[in-house]
Symmetry: C2
Subunit: 231 residues, 2 copies
């Protein structure tokens, strides 16, 4: 059964709108306010700027779309499984590249790595995300586990996946707060347009994550294909 008796449709629509808003906001911040993105640059800040863009659009937004794809797409279960798996693979790869950008920025700017709570949780999350993806691939896709193991694994796959996703959204909050605090310590005014924009982006992100969870907990849009309703 689904925990919420309501259809997923309104939750899914709000999720999409929040996802678009979050993607636009983080691009405006990193390109307009912080000067753009670059993998190689003498202005090392441009390397850092890749990090929030890929973590938000990749891990959080595309990852969220992967999570709700079972509930929102009017497709056959096998098709949705492939979409779920591919979207999560894209999210994971963008997340890994995004984390690499943070390390590259630190290394080229002589900033210590892995001292902050954000980095500790971030490494934990990306490792758990990877383990979850590999386990899902092996058990549910190829070669596929025995049917009892698949059935026993499914609720844990859902629960563990939501746990990792909530941690990821929480860690995005930490990232926004940490970077903004650095900027404010370097002179950015606390109620400047940029500071408010970053906080609003964070609020949109937490709302996006919330609506992903609501969508997962609600009734599938199309019910006639025995979609797995996790809870």
């Amino acid at each position: 059964m689904a925990l919420i008796g309501l259809k997923a449709t309104p939750f899914a629509v709000v999720t999409q709108l929040l996802g678009i808003a979050g993607a636009v906001l983080v691009l405006v911040w990193c390109i307009y306010f912080m000067g753009g993105l670059a993998w190689e640059a003498t202005n090392k800040s441009l390397i850092f700027n890749i990090h929030p863009v890929l973590m938000l659009i990749g891990l959080i937004i595309i990852g969220g779309e992967a999570i709700i794809s079972y509930k929102t797409l009017p497709l056959r279960k096998e098709t949705k499984k492939v979409i779920h798996m591919v979207l999560h693979a894209i999210a994971l790869v963008l997340g890994i590249v995004g984390i690499s950008a943070a390390f590259k920025y630190h290394n080229e700017s002589s900033i210590a790595n892995l001292y902050s709570l954000h980095s500790w949780l971030g490494i934990t999350i990306i490792v758990l995300y990877g383990i979850q993806w590999i386990y899902g691939f092996i058990i549910f896709f190829y070669p596929g586990g025995p049917s009892t193991l698949r059935n026993d694994s499914l609720p844990w796959h859902v629960l563990f996946g939501l746990f990792v996703y909530i941690l990821a959204v929480g860690n995005a909050m930490l990232g926004f707060l940490e970077k903004l605090t650095f900027l404010e310590n370097s002179g950015l005014a606390k109620f400047s347009s940029e500071a408010l924009l970053v906080n609003f982006t964070a609020v949109v992100t937490v709302l996006f994550g919330t609506f992903v969870i609501f969508t997962v907990l609600s009734q599938p849009i199309v019910e006639d294909d025995h979609s797995y309703s996790p809870i």
Copy 2:
């Protein structure tokens, strides 16, 4: 039904141990490393120090105990309801006093209020926590709503309560990171004992929150009194 087929006992035991560890860690940090607690002081930092202690021990730990009390106590349902309500009231009051300490510190140190993501989410969370408590009191305790409204409200009370609690745990992470970033900007070494202690306290807090959720999702320790099993 409970989402997890396992008994709450092991989860509840781990929750208690993590709660004790978190309380000890935050007291060691605020008293030993940051100089102690005071409501009136010329050293304004001592006023701030009240904030993490009351938010963690009050809102997060006592609030968490309130949440799991239905699952863990071998008592009659009506007794557990009173304990649940009183513990949440204590958590809420300590949370409000803890937030007041942050404002008092800011005001007496000429620091702006309500500019950070931590403060925005914090105000949102304490307001939602208060609304949740008042709604619960009126509908489930005194004068009590009609039985259909009570039955319809209960799953939403659980879902909304867990949502607010997850936000509170996430916001505690933001608080630890924000304060530690300020300290590091004022000269604290990034891998000093104090910095590591704060990060470990944050990790213990997120584990405590996780085990509160696991406890809620598992089977009640005592089943013979028709305890409400939320999911």
